[in-house]
């Protein structure tokens, strides 16, 4: 009888143990983190609601401020997506719309339907009373297990504008990187598949010692933890390299949750790296791909279909024409050559034709110091990739009269050869009937003006006519000068006439002088399509830079510029811009 009693007691205790586990796990808490508004607005969120008896000035200030707050009458829409296989697209799971009823804070449940052993993506949009999306942000690649509790942050940025990434609205200092408050250069950044951001290397300037040293530091930004973590150093100090992300698939066919970062070439100091490394964020380790190439700086990387293409690069004596592909297994191999070796050029994705990947290569120089421009008929090339082979062909662009042939330039020596180097480019695509299928936007850089290098005063847009039979370009004047810019697309709304890209302007001087102390300027470039009347062109294009809520599009609390700060965009169409010390987020207009 005693044994029976004790057995019952044992069952009872076991029940308690099990119930403890059940009750305290599988919970998922999402903390919405808000950005700091421009410092010239002193109104608090609690008083940011516009009232009828406000003065016009107060109304305007409150409207600005309200973009950075979650206020009474706003709606928070939480969209949940999941996938069992990280290599597959996420599918929609559920949506929760939360009505905000005060100006202070709130907490509400969302449907408890997360399934274990699946990857989740959460996306939040905050709309105001007029249903305009003002704040948005997301987190992805979160593997849900029922036995754990989750407490994550979801940082919201102002849609279509930049904000400094901060721990909270009262902590304006934000997440800090290893890049000091002075003119540094040469760092590269890549958004991982799980939403974290890897950045590494660069030429770091110390304005106290007036000294420059090349870094091997690498860090990871995790917005779900609002943290910056130092990871394993690069194999050696490196700057002016290229970086991209492959959707790594191991020999066991398992797809990496993070992808692997391809770190290619770069300057080591007095010499150039001839290595291509893969960084594995899961193992925090670097693997030499073993590929043998010439050392170089300023190669360009482009990610297409989960593979990385590395194009060109220069050393002191060589302008290299290699087209290198790093496939999903991490194998790096040369697949072709450009017609002209180059560096400080741009490479942009073009729509594939017959399944063949295509890229547009524009401009650049033959020397790593940014001299000896590539002009004439070799200014632009189109790379076509067919499996593991690539060919590159020069392309004539109508309107660049002196670009047709070298002979034509010789015949007209007074003509200024069309030249552009150190610019940044990206491809913008429109939904059907809303704009051209694509344009290549090229911003900033410098050009050759009668033997003198000057910062480009124009923004260029390259595209084909409707039937694709010829290339044209369009130049628009810019109010800003960006000698070493970075450019990356952000998401636009579906069926929008406009497409957007984020421009991290960098220095306005051709010389990458670390003592340049300009402020950090960030621009959202808008390319707007409108029905056109020109024969062969269904759409006219207008390019402009949107005005930021920050005065003059700069962070007044960061008065030293990152000379060529990187920008990277994650899978959710959010861009991250690196300035000196701080990181900035630009939310897309939709997921």
């Amino acid at each position: 009888m005693n044994i029976i009693c004790k057995f019952i007691l044992l069952i009872f205790l076991s029940f308690i143990l099990i119930s403890c586990d059940d009750g305290n796990s599988g919970n998922f808490k999402i903390n919405l983190k808000l950005p700091v508004s421009p410092s010239d607005i002193s109104i608090t969120c609690a008083h940011a609601e516009v009232k009828d008896d406000d003065t016009d000035f107060d109304k305007e200030e409150k409207i600005k401020k309200s973009n950075f707050c979650i206020l009474n009458g706003d709606q928070i829409m939480l969209s949940i997506y999941s996938t069992a296989d990280i290599s597959e697209d996420y599918s929609f799971v559920d949506r929760k719309i939360i009505k905000v009823t005060n100006n202070v804070s709130g907490e509400t449940d969302f449907v408890r339907n997360l399934k274990p052993s699946r990857y989740y993506k959460f996306y939040v949009e905050v709309t105001n009373k007029n249903e305009k999306t003002k704040l948005s942000g997301g987190a992805e690649g979160i593997f849900f297990e029922d036995s754990k509790n989750y407490d994550i942050n979801l940082f919201l940025g102002v849609t279509g504008d930049f904000v400094r990434v901060v721990h909270n609205q009262t902590n304006e200092s934000g997440l800090k990187t290893y890049i000091p408050e002075a003119g540094s250069s040469g760092t590269r950044a890549v958004a991982l598949r799980d939403g974290r951001i890897f950045y590494a290397g660069g030429s770091i300037y110390n304005d106290i010692d007036t000294d420059t040293k090349i870094e091997k530091t690498a860090q990871l930004v995790d917005l779900t933890k609002m943290s910056v973590t130092k990871v394993k150093d690069l194999p050696f100090a490196l700057t002016d390299f290229s970086a991209g992300l492959i959707n790594y698939v191991g020999s066991d066919k398992k797809v990496s949750e993070t992808g692997r970062v391809v770190i290619a070439f770069g300057k080591k100091g007095d010499s150039y790296s001839d290595k291509i490394y893969l960084y594995d964020p899961l193992k925090d380790s670097y693997q030499d791909t073993g590929a043998a190439f010439s050392g170089r700086a300023f190669p360009q990387s482009l990610v297409i279909g989960g593979e990385v293409y590395i194009v060109g690069g220069c050393s002191d004596s060589l302008s290299l024409s290699d087209i290198i592909k790093v496939d999903k297994s991490g194998k790096a191999s040369k697949i072709g050559d450009l017609k002209q070796g180059r560096c400080l050029h741009s490479v942009s994705e073009l729509p594939a034709i017959e399944g063949k990947t295509r890229m547009l290569v524009l401009g650049g120089t033959k020397k790593a110091d940014g001299t000896d421009f590539i002009t004439g008929e070799l200014f632009a090339e189109i790379i076509t990739v067919d499996g593991d082979n690539a060919t590159s062909d020069k392309v004539a662009i109508e309107g660049i009269s002196d670009q047709a042939t070298l002979d034509s330039i010789k015949a007209n020596p007074t003509a200024i050869a069309f030249s552009l180097a150190s610019h940044a480019s990206t491809t913008l695509n429109w939904d059907t009937n809303k704009g051209p299928s694509f344009v290549v936007l090229a911003v900033g850089g410098f050009l050759n003006s009668e033997g003198t290098r000057v910062v480009s005063p124009s923004t260029y847009l390259f595209r084909t006519n409707d039937d694709g039979s010829k290339w044209i370009y369009q130049a628009s004047g810019s109010s800003f000068k960006c000698a070493y810019p970075s450019l990356s697309k952000i998401n636009a709304k579906e069926y929008s006439n406009s497409q957007y890209a984020v421009l991290n302007c960098g220095t306005d001087k051709v010389a990458r002088n670390p003592e340049n102390t300009l402020s950090q300027y960030i621009y959202i470039m808008e390319a707007q399509a409108a029905p056109g009347s020109t024969a062969g062109l269904s759409y006219n294009m207008n390019i402009s830079a949107k005005n930021s809520l920050f005065a003059e599009n700069n962070d007044t609390e960061n008065n030293s510029v990152y000379l060529d700060g990187p920008v990277t965009t994650n899978d959710m169409g959010q861009a991250f811009v690196f300035g000196t010390t701080y990181i900035y987020m630009i939310s897309g207009f939709s997921l």
């Binding site: 007691l9 009872f12 796990s25 919970n27 808000l34 449940d109 408890r112």
Partner: protein, 120 residues
């Protein structure tokens, strides 16, 4: 925080289970024992124990006294196995429930979205 409390609760419960398992090797307080003499089954309380009691005393021989006492002395209800087991179960259930509610999360928090506008 939740996981810390859950871990603490687990440890407390595990400790209770260990104590319980140890108790399997110990006799219950009022475990029945075979009588010391040959008088058969029954509680064989020895002289001098607190529970010794005799009523309607009839003089007997000394060697008959223990057997007589065993016969006269019925085990009190509070020393029975059933009573102690029941009380123990109730007490343990009470303690366990108390520990559970003191250390566990106030309630399963479920899936929650929270936000706060901090004053600037």
């Amino acid at each position: 925080m939740n996981s810390k409390i859950g871990k603490k609760m687990k440890n407390v419960t595990k400790l209770m289970i260990v104590v319980f398992l140890l108790s399997l090797f110990q006799g219950a307080y009022a475990e029945e024992k075979k009588a010391g003499g040959s008088t058969g089954a029954g509680v064989n309380l020895k002289v001098g124990q607190n529970f010794y009691f005799e009523g309607n005393v009839v003089e007997k021989e000394d060697d008959q006294k223990e057997a007589s006492m065993a016969e006269i002395k019925k085990t009190p209800f509070y020393q029975t196995t059933w009573f102690i087991t029941t009380v123990s179960l109730v007490a343990l259930a009470g303690i366990s429930t108390g520990v559970y509610f003191l250390t566990a999360n106030p309630a399963p928090s479920g899936n929650v979205v929270s936000w706060s506008n901090s004053a600037k």
